[in-house]
C-alpha cells in the first residue's frame, strides 16, 4: 500500500458506507489494526477510509490534577490523556497516524456540522501531522451511494474553518465554565463535609435548571381557586350529547346554583347554528428539535433516545443527517426519486403513488435554515436489516411527515349550535373533516377528533335530560418533561441541537431532577440557590443567549474567536473569585443539601403501620443487607421492617400501590425489565395474582 487517499469519518458505520459507495465493485475490503477497523476501496486510485469514534481530542487544563480552580489555561489533548476510560482512543490514534504516513491526499468526511468539523480538524492537525490546511472536505447529508459518489466527485477544496473556529470556541468556553464552576461547587462541598459528591453546572446547564426551578416553585406554592362549570345533557334523535354553558368558568357557587335552578326541568330551543370551514395546513418538515418533541409526544421517547435512534437510521442510510435545524427541503434532494423508492415497500406504495400522480411536488417549508443540511427526510433506501420497534417508529414518522408536507391543507368544518334554555345559552359543538388532505399521509399520528352531530334545525325544541353542576379547581402549571424542556431551550436559544438532549440527561445524572414529569430535587434547588446568590451571571438566560449569538457569528466570519473567548473569561473570572471567597458558606449549604438529598433518595413514604414514622431503605450493620425499616425504630416506637431484593438498585417510586395504598419502590436489575414492588405482604393484588397463577396451574 502507498500513495493513497485517506478519508476520515466520524463513526465506523459511516466509514464502511463511504468505502462501499466509492469502491468500483461496491465491495470495500475491511482491514483491522490493533482492533481498529478501516476500509480499502479501489477507484481511480486506492482509497483508505478510517473512522474515528466521535471526539478523539478534547479540551484539558495544562497543569495536571483535578483539585484546584480557577483554571484558565487549556489545550487540546487526546481524550485518553484527559479522561478515565478512554484508553481505546490511544490505539485508535496510533492506527490513524500510521495510515496517514503513506497517504498523499487527505479528505475529511466527518459530519458536516460543528462537532463533525472539530473531530476531522483535530485528527488532521494532531494525528496526521498538520494536514488540516491541505485536506479536502466531503459534504453530504445522506449516506446513500449516489450522494456519497457525488460528494467525492465534487470535493470542497478545504475545510470549513469558520465552522471549526466556532466549534473550538464553543468547546473551550463550555469547558472553562464547566470545569471552574463545577469544581468550585464540588470542592466547596467536599472541604466542608469531608465527603466527595460530584456537583456540576455549566454555561447552559445552569439556565436550564433555572427554567425547571421557576416552574417547580410555581407548582409547589400553588393554591388552587374554586370555580364551577355547568353542562347540559341533551337528547337528539335518541342520542345523548353534552353541551357546555356559555360561560366556561363560573366564579361563585351562588351564581352556579342560580343557573342550575333556572335551567332545571326546562326544554331548550335551537337559536342559531354557526358553521365554519377552516384549513389545517400541513406540518413543517422535521428539524431535530421538532422530531424529538413529536417522538416524545407520540412514543414517550426522551430527546436523547430519539437523537440516538435517528443517528442509527442515518448511519443505515435510511434518513438524512438528523442534527439539523433546517425546515427546508430543497428540490436537489430529489423528491420524486425518494417517493419512487419508498413505493417499493407495500407500506408506502399507495401513498407514494398518490403523491407521484401530482403535477408538481412542492413541500411546505418553515423559516428555519441550516447552512449545512436540509430538514430531516427519508432517503428512499429501504432497511437492509430488521429494525427494532423504536427504529421502525421513527423511520415511519420521518417518512410520513415527509409525505405530508407535499399535500394540500386539510379542510375541516366546525359547527356550533346555540341552545337557549330559559334565557341561558348552552353550546353543542361538532367537528368533522371535509377533505383529508395531508392528514391522510400522517394519519396514525394525527391528534384531532371528529365529533359528528345529527341533523339540527333552528327553532328545534331540544329535550334537556339533565343539568350538571361540577365543582372545579384551577390547576397548577404543568411540569416540564424532557420534550417540552428541549422546546423551551430551543425557544430561549440556549445550547445547540447536538448538546441539549445531553444537558437534560446530566440534570438527571446529577440528581438535580427526577421523574419523567421533571421534579426538581432539594439538591437542584440548593445548587441553583448558591449560583443565583453568589454568581447570578452564570444562570442568566440573557447572558447565555448573548454568548450563543456571538459564537454563531464566528461561524459566518462576523466575529473573532479570540474576542469571544476573552470576554467569556472576563465574565467568568470575578464569578470564580467570588465563589472561592465564599467557599466555606457555600460548602456548608451544599453539604447540607447533599445530605438531605441522600436521605430523600432513601425515603419511601409514610409508615402505614405507626403512621408517624417514615419508611426508609436501610442497611443492616450485621449483614450489610438492605431492607425497609421505619424511622421510629430508633425511638423504640415501631419495629416495622420488610425485606428487599439484594441485587440491582431500589428507589422510591413516589406513588402508592393501587391495591393497598402503601408506598412502592422501583427495582432495577441489569438485564431485566424494571418493576414496581409493593412490599406489603397482605396486599390484595398479591393475593389476586397468587390465585390467578394457581388457576393457570390447575388448567
Amino acid at each position: 500500500m502507498g500513495n493513497y487517499t485517506l478519508i476520515i469519518t466520524e463513526k465506523p458505520d459511516a466509514a464502511q458506507r463511504i468505502a462501499s459507495a466509492l469502491d468500483t465493485k461496491e465491495k470495500a475490503k475491511k482491514m483491522e489494526d490493533n482492533g481498529v477497523p478501516y476500509y480499502i476501496a479501489k477507484r481511480d486510485k486506492e482509497i483508505v477510509v478510517v473512522p474515528a469514534i466521535g471526539h478523539l481530542y478534547t479540551v484539558a487544563e495544562e497543569r495536571s490534577g483535578r483539585n484546584y480552580y480557577p483554571v484558565f489555561s487549556f489545550r487540546w489533548v487526546p481524550r485518553y490523556a484527559a479522561e478515565r476510560g478512554a484508553k481505546q482512543v490511544r490505539t485508535w490514534l496510533e492506527t490513524i497516524s500510521k495510515l496517514a504516513n503513506d497517504a498523499d491526499m487527505f479528505i475529511d468526511a466527518c459530519d458536516y456540522d460543528i462537532e463533525g468539523s472539530i473531530i476531522g480538524y483535530c485528527i488532521l492537525k494532531y494525528a496526521c501531522g498538520s494536514k488540516e490546511r491541505v485536506s479536502k472536505r466531503m459534504k453530504y447529508s445522506t449516506l446513500t451511494k449516489d450522494e456519497l459518489e457525488k460528494s467525492y466527485a465534487e470535493l470542497l477544496p478545504h475545510l470549513n474553518f469558520a465552522l471549526i473556529e466556532a466549534g473550538r470556541t464553543r468547546h473551550e468556553i463550555d469547558w472553562l465554565y464547566g470545569v471552574n464552576l463545577s469544581r468550585a461547587l464540588t470542592i466547596a462541598a467536599r472541604d466542608w463535609s469531608g465527603k466527595y459528591a460530584t456537583l456540576s453546572t455549566g454555561r447552559v446547564q445552569g439556565p436550564t435548571l433555572k427554567f425547571l426551578a421557576l416552574r417547580e416553585k410555581s407548582i409547589r406554592t400553588y393554591v388552587p381557586t374554586p370555580y364551577w362549570e355547568v353542562k347540559a345533557e341533551i337528547e337528539i334523535n335518541g342520542k345523548i350529547f353534552e353541551t357546555e354553558y356559555e360561560k366556561e368558568i363560573i366564579e361563585t357557587r351562588k351564581e352556579a346554583e342560580t343557573i342550575l335552578k333556572a335551567c332545571k326541568e326546562k326544554n331548550g330551543t335551537v337559536e342559531k347554528i354557526d358553521i365554519k370551514q377552516f384549513q389545517q395546513t400541513p406540518p413543517l418538515p422535521f428539524d431535530l428539535g421538532a422530531l424529538q418533541s413529536e417522538a416524545y409526544g407520540l412514543f414517550g421517547y426522551t430527546p436523547r433516545r430519539t437523537s440516538n435512534i435517528a443517528q442509527r437510521l442515518y448511519l443505515d442510510a435510511l434518513i438524512s443527517y438528523p442534527r439539523t435545524s433546517s425546515q427546508k427541503l430543497p428540490p436537489a434532494i430529489g423528491y420524486e426519486t425518494i417517493l419512487k423508492n419508498l413505493s417499493k415497500t407495500p407500506q408506502y406504495k399507495k401513498l407514494a403513488a398518490e403523491l407521484l400522480a401530482k403535477s408538481e411536488l412542492r413541500p411546505k417549508e418553515g423559516k428555519k435554515e441550516d447552512p449545512a443540511h436540509p430538514a430531516i427526510y427519508p432517503t428512499g433506501s429501504l432497511p437492509e436489516r430488521v429494525l427494532d420497534d423504536s427504529e421502525k417508529n421513527i423511520w415511519d414518522l420521518v417518512v410520513r411527515r415527509f409525505m405530508a408536507v407535499f399535500d394540500e391543507p386539510a379542510i375541516r368544518q366546525s359547527m356550533k349550535v346555540y341552545i337557549n334554555v330559559n334565557g341561558h345559552h348552552f353550546y353543542l359543538r361538532g367537528r368533522r373533516t371535509l377533505k383529508e388532505g395531508w392528514l391522510h399521509f400522517y394519519e396514525p399520528y394525527v391528534r384531532s377528533e371528529e365529533v359528528l352531530l345529527p341533523p339540527i334545525e333552528e327553532g328545534q325544541v331540544i329535550n334537556i335530560k339533565r343539568i350538571i353542576l361540577e365543582d372545579k379547581f384551577t390547576k397548577p402549571p404543568p411540569r416540564y418533561n424532557p420534550g417540552s424542556l428541549l422546546k423551551r431551550m430551543e425557544e430561549a436559544e440556549i445550547g445547540t441541537k447536538a448538546t441539549r438532549a445531553d444537558i437534560i440527561q446530566t440534570l438527571y445524572d446529577r440528581k438535580y431532577v427526577r421523574d419523567e414529569r421533571m421534579v426538581v430535587t432539594d439538591l437542584g434547588f440548593d445548587v441553583l440557590e448558591v449560583l443565583e446568590k453568589y454568581c447570578p451571571a452564570v444562570v442568566s438566560i440573557k447572558l447565555t443567549k448573548e454568548l450563543e449569538e456571538r459564537m454563531d457569528k464566528i461561524q459566518v466570519n462576523n466575529e473573532k474567536r479570540e474576542n469571544v473567548l476573552i470576554d467569556a473569561v472576563e465574565i467568568l473570572k470575578p464569578v470564580v473569585e467570588e465563589l472561592k471567597k465564599k467557599e466555606k458558606i457555600i460548602g456548608e449549604q451544599l453539604s447540607d443539601a447533599i445530605k438531605r438529598a441522600r436521605v430523600e433518595e432513601r425515603t419511601i413514604g409514610a409508615c402505614p403501620i405507626c403512621n408517624t414514622g417514615k419508611l426508609m431503605i436501610l442497611y443492616s450493620r450485621k449483614t450489610s443487607k438492605r431492607f425497609i425499616g421505619c424511622t421510629n425504630y430508633f425511638k423504640g416506637l415501631c419495629k416495622t421492617s420488610f425485606p428487599l431484593p439484594q441485587r440491582g438498585t431500589v428507589r422510591p417510586l413516589g406513588k402508592n400501590c393501587r391495591g393497598c395504598g402503601w408506598p412502592t419502590v422501583l427495582v432495577r436489575i441489569k438485564g431485566r425489565r424494571p418493576w414496581t414492588l409493593c412490599f406489603n405482604p397482605q396486599c390484595p393484588l398479591k393475593e389476586e395474582r397468587r390465585k390467578r397463577i394457581e388457576m393457570r396451574n390447575l388448567q
Partner: protein
C-alpha cells in the same frame, strides 16, 4: 434563624424564601375563595391543606397555620 417548616435559612417572618412565597400565595388567594364559596379563613386553610392540587409548600404552610391557629392579619375571617 431556621424556617418554621423546613431547615432552610429564614427571613423576618420565620419562613424561608420558598415557604414565604407559598405563604404569600395563600394570603393572596383567600379573597378569591371568600368571594367564590363564602368561607372563613379557618375553613379556607383546611380546604387548601386537603386539596390535591395545592402545591407541596403551600400545603405545608397551610398545615402550619392551622396547627398554630394563626389568623389572617389582613382582614378578619
Amino acid at each position: 434563624m431556621k424556617c418554621a417548616i423546613c431547615n432552610r435559612e429564614s427571613g423576618e417572618n420565620n419562613y424561608c424564601e420558598l415557604h414565604m412565597k407559598a405563604h404569600e400565595s395563600i394570603i393572596k388567594k383567600y379573597d378569591l375563595w371568600k368571594k367564590a364559596a363564602d368561607i372563613s379563613w379557618k375553613e379556607y386553610l383546611s380546604e387548601v391543606a386537603k386539596n390535591p392540587l395545592t402545591g407541596e409548600w403551600a400545603k405545608e404552610v397551610a398545615e402550619h397555620l392551622i396547627k398554630n391557629g394563626e389568623r389572617k392579619n389582613v382582614t378578619n375571617g
